[in-house]
Symmetry: C2
Subunit: 224 residues, 2 copies
Amino acid sequence: MSKAVVLLSGGLDSATTLAVARAAGYDCHALSLDYGQRHRAELDAARRVARYLRVAEHRQMRLDMGPMTGSALTDTRVAVPEEADAPGIPVTYVPARNTIMLALALGWAEALDADAVYIGVNAVDFSGYPDCRPAFALAFQALANVATKRAVEGRPIVLETPLMHLSKAEIIRWGMQLGVDYGLTVSCYQADAGGRACGRCEACRLRRQGFTSLGVADPTRYFP
Amino acid sequence: MSKAVVLLSGGLDSATTLAVARAAGYDCHALSLDYGQRHRAELDAARRVARYLRVAEHRQMRLDMGPMTGSALTDTRVAVPEEADAPGIPVTYVPARNTIMLALALGWAEALDADAVYIGVNAVDFSGYPDCRPAFALAFQALANVATKRAVEGRPIVLETPLMHLSKAEIIRWGMQLGVDYGLTVSCYQADAGGRACGRCEACRLRRQGFTSLGVADPTRYFP
């Protein structure tokens, strides 16, 4: 059985991505990063999702992103925006975060002799983030094609981004078909310790719109 | 004054690279990674070198590379080879190590608004490592050109690999011209806690050959 490393934040997109990798027949090794994110409840959600979708293994790695200041997700002095975004790159962007996470996933994949790395990036809703775009995924694949021992031996690790071109509603529909329980996931950038969502940040708004436009009940637990 | 992030392991190549970045006029921010490497004395060496070359700042980040097993540098069950290498990629290769380190350096550079990231990779002596080759550096630059907010805004961070095509002797000559004290550096893969070198591993052999072929006294302290 072929192995895949799946980046699992505990949110809606990564849970769906894990289900997609599993449905593709991979033995899934989930990787969650504790990078001091404000919304630490997503790490608990990642554990629940990993168990529910029966991964072969779930690892949580600690990563000191303290030096990467200036993002609303890692710097408590920067507020999470609660209104529709200004054009440009959101303040929730964390410098090089997906590059770092994919690099770690690539290293673990090589150590496991896994054939693929899955990440739930999405260019439709989050096109504001440079490291969620098709050009980024292509460039990372080109790097992976030369960066590892496996690549030099002619077996590069493949980067899979199955959600890249889907809307939030399409992602939810696919995940429901694959049996994802979205009540286990946490998307909110400022979720409380119990995993309840604010309903106002960009992640909450996009998630809620996804359920609404699909005409499906939103299983998210919001603050009272 | 323009800033640069310099990856500083504490060995001969990275110390030279730091001196090169400094001579190029950069305000240097040195980054060392504690990834559980066998040769922990290099981290002490990195601190000495950073102080000696008067960096603006030196950060040591912890990184759990436990899952990336199988390398002689991180897995104590794998011995460091003490004879001339077999063809192919050495067992001291750590899966995706330079990809991970460069990703972290890129993130820190963006947070600092630094213009460049320096790494002392070298294709002449260490061409066995896939992530020390020109193709790797080019692919990482292409990734950096799309991965960050700065890149999207038209100011990508530049990857500098000044040692790529130099022999060890050429590296040492350049470093001596720039005032590097190689007695502060530790290259040995199995250096003892005091920073003394084995004289037998690949890193020691290449280093010693460099001093010998240059006709310069080798300042390395070896085991008794």
